[in-house]
């Protein structure tokens, strides 16, 4: 879910480095690039994410970037997960009075 949300936040510029950075900044936890790619690959297998190869730069040793984008199905999943979470969140005594 965090990866999908990071993709949505980044829009067109979503490849490995900014995705990892976005997750790190928003969650406050360090993430390994390998685990982010593993998650992206799983999401791609479920057709929640699509990817395409982009440009390569000398900084990257001539290796192409892989840009990821959330699919319509992915967007639907995020919406459903969001509403499920809101429903679960609602009425929790421990968080009453707090704003989500």
């Amino acid at each position: 879910m965090m990866v999908l949300l990071a993709l949505m936040r980044l829009g067109e510029d979503a490849y490995g480095v900014p995705i990892s950075r976005e997750i790190e900044q928003q969650s406050g936890r360090a993430v390994a690039a390998g685990t982010v790619y593993a998650a992206l690959e799983r999401l791609e297998e479920k057709d929640l994410v699509s990817s395409e190869l982009g440009e390569s730069t000398p900084q990257r040793g001539g290796r192409a970037k892989r840009y990821f984008r959330i699919t319509k199905k992915g967007l639907r999943e995020v919406r459903e997960a969001r509403s499920a979470l809101i429903n679960l969140w609602r009425g929790l005594r421990e968080f009453e009075g707090e704003r989500a």
């Binding site: 490849y15 990892s20 892989r66």
Partner: protein, 207 residues
């Protein structure tokens, strides 16, 4: 002082041990972050985590490859042995004790019956997969050439090894390992997706 170049060995490991299409992009991402000031220790940690994650996410594929390899290697090994015994029977050559040839003949007949099916299944599986890994290592190999190379080397291995070596249990090991490595190398389909869905691939296709 921080090294200006990332460890070559680590980059090599990323490109060769991480399966599928992610390895090149991942290697590029790591290089990009390294050029922005990350340390060598960070680089190595990322590489090791990536390899470990890659293996953990692919263990099911490895398990399937191992199962298929066992199904292939055992009849191949015993089939060869059994055929030799059958030839001894057919041409009236020397026969050993009775019970052993009987077992080998049974195994051999089973192999003769199921062998083509096993062969066709493996062939089908290989033909529906992509040789991304093999192409990377041997770019001059085409799909069919790659398969034939593996099949030929397996048979050659069986033919060239001393019979005494092949006919004991150790003889099975090179066949098993050879097939496992080849199955592992063929584990991606043409879209770069995993081929772990071995039985999911088969039904929609017609023979």
């Amino acid at each position: 002082m921080r090294s200006s170049k990332p460890p070559v060995q680590a980059t090599w490991l990323v490109e060769h041990l991480i399966p599928g299409p992610r390895n090149e992009a991942l290697a590029g991402d790591l290089l990009e972050q390294f050029s922005q000031g990350r340390s060598v220790t960070w680089y190595w940690r990322q590489v090791l985590v990536a390899i470990l994650t890659g293996f953990l996410t692919e263990w099911r594929i490895f398990a399937w490859a191992a199962v298929v390899t066992v199904c292939w290697a055992i009849p191949l090994y015993y089939g060869r042995f059994g055929n030799k015994i059958l030839a001894q029977y057919a041409f009236g050559l020397e026969t050993h004790r009775w019970f052993l040839p009987l077992i080998y003949a049974t195994v051999s007949f089973t192999w003769l019956a199921f062998g083509p099916i096993c062969f066709a299944s493996v062939m089908y599986w290989v033909m529906t997969t992509d040789l991304t890994m093999m192409r990377k290592a041997f770019p001059w190999l085409s799909l069919l050439e790659g398969y034939l190379a593996v099949a030929f080397s397996t048979f050659l291995l069986l033919a060239l090894l001393p019979p005494a070596f092949v006919e004991n249990t150790v003889g099975l090991l090179p066949v098993f390992l050879g097939m496992l490595v080849s199955m592992w190398a063929f584990r991606r389909d043409s879209t770069g997706k995993r081929t772990a869905k071995f039985f999911r691939i088969l039904p929609p296709r017609s023979w």
